[in-house]
Subunit: 227 residues, 2 copies
Amino acid sequence: MSNKQIIGFDADDTLWENEIFFYQAQRKFIELHPHIKDPEQAILQIEKKNIKFYGYGIKGFILSLLETSVRYSSNQPNFQNIDKIIKIGKEMLAQPIQLLPHAKDTLRHLSEHYTLIMITKGDLLDQQRKVEKSGLLKYFSSIEIVWEKDKQTYLEILQKNNISPKDFLMVGNSLKSDVLPVTKVGGTGIYIPHKFTWKHEEVDSTFDLDRFVELKNISDLKVWLKN
Amino acid sequence: MSNKQIIGFDADDTLWENEIFFYQAQRKFIELHPHIKDPEQAILQIEKKNIKFYGYGIKGFILSLLETSVRYSSNQPNFQNIDKIIKIGKEMLAQPIQLLPHAKDTLRHLSEHYTLIMITKGDLLDQQRKVEKSGLLKYFSSIEIVWEKDKQTYLEILQKNNISPKDFLMVGNSLKSDVLPVTKVGGTGIYIPHKFTWKHEEVDSTFDLDRFVELKNISDLKVWLKN
């Protein structure tokens, strides 16, 4: 390995499917609660209110679904639904990893030429389990599971690993978490949109276009890096 | 700082109160469910079954309490209890840090002579929040939030931080997590029992007594280290 560039990879919806399981769980919840008029909105409001308690991850999501069920079912409490939501949560937690197309091949190839680090947000246990199940661990020189992917977090990771920002590329499906903060610390953000995006993240800032790249597929990385 | 010894500190029930809040939450749960005959046993069984899904931490505990409520209340479902348990969880998550006596003074003193690292197990968000709220962050050169505190974990921490096992001391209230695995990798385990222990951990192994110290109080560390 001679290239001094370091490539950071987001994991959820960049290397493997993630949001789709939240979406599917939400569909099941909606089927169980036909009496809730605007269920997506109801869930979203409770999730937003709870983020300061629960953070990101499946357990917090399930606790928010349970709270939504209770709050919106006072006229027709259904105790079985509570049990069913808990089961939905366990199914999510036990869900096998579904790698995205070309993720493995691309990592295998790139790991021969670059130092790769995984930088992912969420519950420590959930994420560690996913990394281990994924079979991708061997391609990464380190795994960073962080609380929030903001400018400060990236600065700390660069400092800790002794990486110069100009040598740092970050690949991910989130403009807000993977691309924008990296461009702001002087690195390059490589945006690979995920085909399944039901809730758009709002990004207010403008991009430094010199530090921003959009690719269609993770397999395009090999080609782009050679240019 | 000239001393090459590195001191690892457990956090929950070593530096601040923790188990007591789980205990108090369990008391509240029991009051809400007078119809459950052996509630401690009921909760414990469900917690044990769920550890592989939820890991350690408040959110998993609350999900287990919710499941216990549902499973043991089929004859008299009480929807309000679900709401109350969710509230108990949020109170736990918002609970201010209660430092244990002498924890702060001891850390302040030791940090002038030794390199201190915090090694704690649990949910990443919960633990990061606690570390930040505790005001103790400044005494530690690094914080390790780990999934499981076993031999392998300690070996990895020692390796990552370039620490020789013979220079490593680990201070904590758990024989199983803080003391035993550290003695097994060649470090010294310093056991400081917590006054509040309602569920004893089982430890099968015998100790290498050369590598094991029991102190009554964290403030005794200063005296012991001088010997």
